[in-house]
C-alpha cells in the first residue's frame, strides 16, 4: 500500500477531474493531493462546485472526467474499501430526528461495523454530552450539527470530508471542531473541508475551484 514514487506521500489524489451539473461543466482539469496529516481546504465562490467536488471525492458523484486514487489505486476499483476508511459529513446532517443523539451515533458506528469511541465521549468532545438521550427532533440547528460532527469520532476513518462544517456552529463549537480536526491530523488522519470561514487550528493547503473559461472553445466570444 505504499504510494507510487512520483507521489510518495500522497494518499488521496485527484487528477484532471471535471464535473457536469445539468449538462453544464462546472469545473475541469482539477488536480489535488492529500497526504497523511494534511488538511485541504476547498475555496471558491458560491456554486463553484465545492459540494460537488466533495461528493465526487466521497464517491457519490461520478466524475465526468478524471480519476481519484486512494493509496495509489483508483477508488473506482474498490469503492467499499475506500468507504470503510472515509467519513463524509455533508451539508445535510443526515440524522434521524425520531432517534436520540446517542442512538444516531450508535447506529452510525454499528452500520460501519467498527466503533472507535462510545457515543457519550464523542458528544462530550463537542460539548453536548448532556443531550445524548434527547431525540434530535427537539434540537436546534447548531446542536444537530454537533451531533452530526460527533459521528467523526464514533467510527474510525483516516479521511474526513467536511462540507460546510461550520454552518450553524457558535464560536465554542468551532473551537471544539478545530481541536478535533487537529487531533485527527496529529494521528496521521486527513481532512478535506469546504468552508467560507477559517477553521481554527493549524492551517492546511488551499485548493481554489475556478469555473472553466467560458470563452475557451468558441471561435468568437461575444465580447
Amino acid at each position: 500500500m505504499q504510494g507510487q514514487v512520483s507521489t510518495a506521500a500522497a494518499v488521496l489524489e485527484g487528477r484532471d477531474l471535471a464535473a457536469l451539473r445539468g449538462e453544464r461543466l462546472i469545473f475541469a482539469n482539477l488536480d489535488f493531493t492529500v497526504s497523511a496529516g494534511e488538511l485541504l481546504k476547498l475555496v471558491g465562490r458560491n456554486g463553484a462546485g465545492k459540494s460537488t467536488l466533495m461528493r465526487m471525492i466521497a464517491g457519490l458523484v461520478t466524475p465526468f472526467a478524471g480519476q481519484i486514487s486512494w493509496h495509489g489505486s483508483p477508488v473506482r476499483d474498490d469503492p467499499d474499501g475506500f468507504c470503510a476508511d472515509m467519513i463524509y459529513a455533508g451539508h445535510q446532517d443526515g440524522l434521524k430526528t425520531a432517534l436520540s443523539a446517542a442512538e444516531n451515533l450508535d447506529l452510525f458506528a454499528r452500520l460501519r461495523g467498527i466503533r472507535s469511541q462510545p457515543a457519550d465521549q464523542a458528544l462530550a468532545a463537542f460539548g453536548i454530552a448532556d443531550l445524548a438521550d434527547l431525540p434530535v427532533r427537539y434540537m436546534s440547528a447548531g446542536q444537530r450539527r454537533r451531533v452530526s460532527l460527533a459521528r467523526l469520532l464514533v467510527a474510525p476513518a483516516s479521511l474526513w470530508l467536511l462540507d460546510e462544517p461550520l454552518t450553524a456552529l457558535d464560536t465554542s463549537a468551532i473551537e471544539q471542531l478545530g481541536s478535533v480536526v487537529d487531533a485527527h491530523r496529529d494521528g496521521g488522519g486527513m481532512v478535506i473541508a469546504a468552508t467560507h470561514a477559517d477553521l481554527p487550528g493549524s492551517p492546511g493547503k488551499v485548493l481554489e475551484i475556478v469555473p472553466p473559461d467560458p470563452f475557451e472553445d468558441d471561435a468568437e466570444p461575444s465580447a
Partner: protein, 222 residues
C-alpha cells in the same frame, strides 16, 4: 457485510416503529378499500364471493403503492441516504435491506389482515390458504418492483403520481397469478402452478430489482 445488512433492516424497523403508524395506515387503507366494494356492488353474498379474490388483491396492491413513495424519500430529505450509500457494502444490498424492511412493515401486515377481509367478502373456505400463500409470495415482489419505482422517482417533483404510473403496469402479473390462485383453490383445483410462477417471479425480481433500484438511486445522489 451480513451484520451491516441485518443492522440496516433493524434500523428501518426501528424508525418505522418510532415514527409509528405506517403499517397501521396501510392496513386501514386496505380494509377501507375492500369494504367499499359491498357498498358499491351490493351485499349479495354470491356476488361478493365472486369478486372477493380480485377485490382483496387489488386493494392490497393499492395499499403497497401508497406506501412506496416514502421508501427512500425520507432518507433523501435528511441526508441519511448519502450515509447509506457510503456504507462499505454495495448499494444494491442497502436497497435489498430497505425493501425487506418495507415488506415487513407493509406486505406482511397486509397478508395477515387478508383472511379477515376474506370473511367480510364471503371468500370460499377452501381459498384462504391460497390467498395467504399467494400474498406471502406476491407482496415481496410488490415491494421489490416498488423499490425500483421509488428509486427512480425519489427527489422528483410530483414523484408520487409518477411512481404509481410507472409501477402499476409492472404489478399486473402478480395480480393475475395471485387472484387466479385464489379462484382455482375456491373451485377445488391445484394451485401449485400459480405458486411456482409467483416463486419464479420472486426469485427473478429479488436479483434484478435491487440492482436496478441501486442504479436509479445513484442518479438521485449524483
Amino acid at each position: 457485510m451480513s451484520r451491516t445488512f441485518l443492522m440496516l433492516i433493524r434500523r428501518d424497523l426501528l424508525l418505522a416503529h418510532r415514527q409509528g403508524g405506517g403499517s397501521l395506515l396501510a392496513i386501514a387503507f386496505f380494509v377501507l378499500v375492500v369494504s367499499l366494494f359491498p357498498l358499491g356492488v351490493g351485499p349479495a353474498p354470491e356476488m361478493l364471493e365472486r369478486i372477493a379474490a380480485g377485490t382483496i388483491w387489488v386493494a392490497a396492491l393499492l395499499s403497497v403503492l401508497l406506501s412506496l413513495d416514502r421508501m427512500f424519500q425520507a432518507d433523501l430529505e435528511d441526508g441519511s441516504l448519502d450515509q447509506l450509500a457510503l456504507l462499505p457494502i454495495p448499494l444494491a444490498l442497502v436497497v435489498l435491506a430497505k425493501t425487506i424492511a418495507h415488506w415487513l412493515t407493509t406486505g406482511l401486515p397486509l397478508t395477515l389482515t387478508a383472511p379477515l377481509l376474506g370473511l367480510l367478502m364471503q371468500l370460499s373456505p377452501d381459498a384462504y390458504g391460497a390467498l395467504v400463500a399467494g400474498m406471502l409470495l406476491g407482496t415481496p415482489i410488490l415491494s421489490l418492483i416498488g423499490a425500483i419505482g421509488a428509486a427512480l422517482t425519489v427527489g422528483v417533483r410530483r414523484g408520487g403520481v409518477l411512481l404509481t404510473l410507472i409501477v402499476t403496469p409492472l404489478y399486473i402479473p402478480i395480480l393475475i397469478f395471485g387472484v387466479s390462485a385464489v379462484e382455482a383453490a375456491a373451485q377445488g383445483f391445484a394451485i401449485s402452478a400459480h405458486m411456482l410462477f409467483l416463486s419464479a417471479l420472486l426469485s427473478g425480481t429479488i436479483v434484478i430489482a435491487p440492482i436496478a433500484a441501486a442504479w436509479s438511486l445513484k442518479l438521485a445522489l449524483d
